[in-house]
Amino acid sequence: MSDSNELKFDDEIKALIIEALDGNKTGGGDIDALFKTADGFILTEFLRCVTVRPFNSHPNRYWNYGMAKIGNKNKFLALWNLAQKTNSKLILINYEDSREQFKVIEVKGLSDSRQIYDEVSTNMNFEQFKAWFRDLVAKSEK
């Protein structure tokens, strides 16, 4: 949040956090978009797909992949725990730079040992995704 260009500002925050931690690992997370609808909060996280395209990719594929071979699972577990605590929906969105394929994954069940074991997934093209996302924004309470 700032009085300047928001697109650049998100990068500025990340840069500030990195600087303030002096290179230490972070124990924190962030949330890309937070919506509030009549049914409650929705946490959304965008997952950029580079090597495997969104329709074929899945967060479970990268569960144990990541920095220091520890994996992304902590990020998903943290999001899931926060969603559970706040009775929120958790939606993960696979996307790619070409904007051709989008997979919207509503997580229904997740655990450390079972990974994401229950979900409702929908494959979309960019037009479908835009319509879906804009509808979510419109439904979000002001």
């Binding site: 928001e6 998100d10 956090i17 124990g27 965008f46 926060l82």
Partner: protein, 137 residues
């Protein structure tokens, strides 16, 4: 979150670029959470606010109309999470930081339990202590 969390990497923030492609200038109206932590089961949310005016004497109420929509959303979420919300106001050149722990937020105003004035080194100490507490698990 646990001690195994990854280091934050500098990115080109492609997620924000995607939001921009979908919503145009309205992308800035989508609320996000800049940073959150969990210490012994209690959530702490940090919202960063870059301030162009001098921080001495600054209050988020000064430009409440402009920022209230996002802060109110975050505050409502914080209550739901039974956590705490800190507004981290800072100067772009890192010369000063003013931290506000939110006590309540309404459409009219935001009130605070605590205000801390820090220079960058002091802020780093505060932030690293918070982070270390999380990593302790």
């Amino acid at each position: 979150m646990s001690k195994e969390s990854k280091s934050i990497r500098k990115t080109d923030d492609s997620a924000m670029a995607l939001l921009h492609d979908i919503l145009g200038v309205n992308a800035t109206k989508v609320a996000d959470i800049d940073s959150y932590y969990r210490i012994k089961g209690t959530y702490i949310f940090l919202e960063f606010i870059k301030v162009s005016e001098p921080l001495e004497g600054y209050s988020p109420n000064n430009n409440w109309e402009m920022i209230q929509s996002e802060i109110l959303r975050l505050w409502e979420f914080t209550i739901k999470a039974e956590g705490s919300l800190w507004l981290i106001c800072f100067k772009e050149d890192r010369s000063a930081f003013r931290l506000f722990k939110v006590e309540s937020a309404t459409k009219e105003q935001v009130t605070f339990q605590k205000v801390n004035d820090f220079d960058f080194e002091e802020f780093k100490k505060w932030f690293q202590l918070l982070n270390a507490e999380v990593l302790k698990g």
